[in-house]
Symmetry: C4
Subunit: 235 residues, 4 copies
């Protein structure tokens, strides 16, 4: 079954919108209710993000693959799984959707439509955390999507649930998410000046993961059929 490009782009845009609404919205709710206990706020943020990923990848996967993440789209394009011009469209749709998702969260919680974050996330250890976070995410996606694609939504959600806690940066692991979170001065925000290092580390992590997976299982096709979830596409 073929999906037209407009529909695939709509799926990436709306899927990333709902993902960001979930990330930012649950951060606001968690912080408001947690009475100052940041661990409880992050538990809520983690639970909401992981659960949203299960639902969104199951929902939009069959239409666009449910990348919802430029790092994944670029990794896929580097192996020929998606053409570069289509990949560019995906990235634009993801970034637009991500920023729109932040606006939706702000509207729901009576915050200004867009803000400039003051949440500092700088330093080598933060960037290294993003490298590790995205390396792990892309290894999970490449491996599981080429072997057992039906469980990818659960594998990705489980990985991010863990990485929210085991990386010092709470695992953004997604350039579109990173850009959008610069526009919220709430729990999930990131200071705009810290965004470039995050994105560079994320792309590096995705590339190293792709090279590693090409070596680890050479007998598999270079692309994963379709990343993240099998879907019809007009290449």
């Amino acid at each position: 079954m073929q999906t037209t490009l407009p529909r695939a782009l709509a799926a990436e845009c709306v899927g990333t919108l709902l993902l960001l609404a979930a990330v930012v919205g649950s951060g606001i709710m968690g912080e408001r209710l947690a009475g100052g206990n940041l661990a409880v706020a992050l538990l809520a943020n983690t639970l909401a993000t992981g659960a949203a990923l299960i639902a969104l990848i199951l929902t939009f996967g069959p239409v666009s693959g449910a990348h919802l993440n430029p790092a994944v789209t670029i990794a896929d394009a580097s192996q020929g799984g998606i053409g570069w011009s289509r990949a560019a469209g995906y990235v634009v749709a993801q970034v637009i959707g991500a920023i729109a998702g932040v606006m939706v969260a702000h509207l729901m919680f009576d915050e200004p439509l867009l803000m400039s974050s003051t949440h500092a996330r700088s330093g080598v250890s933060q960037a290294f955390s993003e490298f590790v976070a995205t390396f792990g995410l892309v290894v999970v996606i490449w491996s599981v999507s080429r072997r057992r694609a039906t469980v990818v939504p659960f594998a990705v959600a489980a990985y991010i649930t863990a990485a929210y806690w085991f990386t010092a940066s709470t695992s953004f692991a997604n350039p579109a998410v990173t850009v959008a979170r610069a526009f919220t001065d709430t729990f999930a925000g990131i200071r705009p000046s810290d965004v470039p290092a995050f994105i560079a580390a994320q792309v590096a992590g995705a590339m190293v993961a792709t090279i590693f997976c090409r070596w680890l299982v050479p007998s598999l096709p270079a692309d994963a059929g379709d990343l993240v979830v099998p879907h019809g596409q007009a290449r």
Copy 2:
């Protein structure tokens, strides 16, 4: 396998009863034990609601579809998946079951059988939250039930788990649930005067989601075979 109408209505009624017992009961338990930390109370409420949805949709899905939600039933009827007279029966069964579920929760926790809630949930951002919550829920249901029906119980539970935290209204997303929660003056309650705006926003969200899904995947049949879960039905 055909299910008779009385059995389908019983499934919708008992399923919605147990859903409301879970929502209201876990809210009471959470608030009583959480020592004033509302985030911890909502984590418990979320965990119980999401887990209950998995169990209840798996249990009643094969009998009635496990709509348990008038917004879903109306969306299904709008696409011809269920006849309008049968849909009316479903909605009545859901509302009766929902109110009975509140009574069961109150009996278990030594509360008055029915109360009038004083929990204010008003304003544009609350209604917008319900629009977003129900839009997302119905997109998940339409998409997943037409593509991979066996995982619908997990997709719906995951979505609601996330939406409890990422919407400012804690995602009622269900008119029967909304009506019933007006009868409890506990953690999960809603002031009766706030009910109409919630329901209007929910129905609007469900309708926009249905139109969006019709466009997103036109090659699929208008109805999803059976919503939420495949089941025998005497149309």
Copy 3:
């Protein structure tokens, strides 16, 4: 594949042992670490119990069916799914395993081997809670095991996760568990004098659930093939 009776009884005994170790042990750990916040302690207890049920039903299901619960065994026997003499063996194995599990938990946590609980759980609303809890559990088991047996471990775990929070009694829903928990004076305990009312309510809930499910889906065979999980058995 046939399982001999000694092996089935060993599976019921060791499975129930590990279940009680999980219930009682996680209760002790939760209470010790939670600093007086009972909701946090119960969240830990719930997470451990639900997760243990997934693992144990997957593990012992193919050997004995993983009833791990006299109420389930009696419900199964009432429909001819298991002979009454075999059922009696199951119940004895479950009770022995349950008490042994409490002892294992006490040894791990440096508590006396067995204690007499002083945790009061009395009154009509507690008994009604147990009726509701066991009714729901047995409806889930009958329905899901006759329709989609591979997901029973997840359905049962999800249901108990919810019921820990939505019933006022924290959902024992299991006579062997109830008897064994009378032997621990920790978080999970129950005063011996409160045990009979719990067990009576549990058996009543299981019976009403069985009658309801016989009516709800009459076209299905009376027994569920095998409860809770398909397994070879020498009837």
Copy 4:
């Protein structure tokens, strides 16, 4: 499909690295954010570890089996499922990966690269806890991998999630994990002098579990095809 030995060793090494990064990193994050509530810190640690296990076993299982645990490798070798020389390679890869994972966690969280833990975990009840924890883990792995291998990642993750709470030692249940955690003086650490008793108890638990499972289901082949997850191997 055959996996070469270097690739299998790489999978064991990188998989165990990411597992330890998850265990140690989430412990640090949990303790830093929890404001002194150890139960909340352990909930975060548990959630991250369980979720990481799902993702990592799904990812590396098809390459090496995703043992990630010398106790599992030794149990497998004892039944002929893996040759002893290959098993030795697995164990070395696991230990190297585990220590590297601790270093990665420390780098992310700005801690010294390696430390000597001062976290006392001594006494008979701690060792008994490790015996119980590993016995349960290996029973789960043997049983589920021989009957329904596709759900092993979920069964193992569920078991460890429960065992973190129901054992007094928080269930290390893994000699490579135990050695590596001696190198971190954070939440997850263990004093080096307490390591030998943990490892002895873990190996004993694995052996008793293996003997029990051989008796419980004799009709099954001695090995589980492949532990933990089916994978190509050059024996």
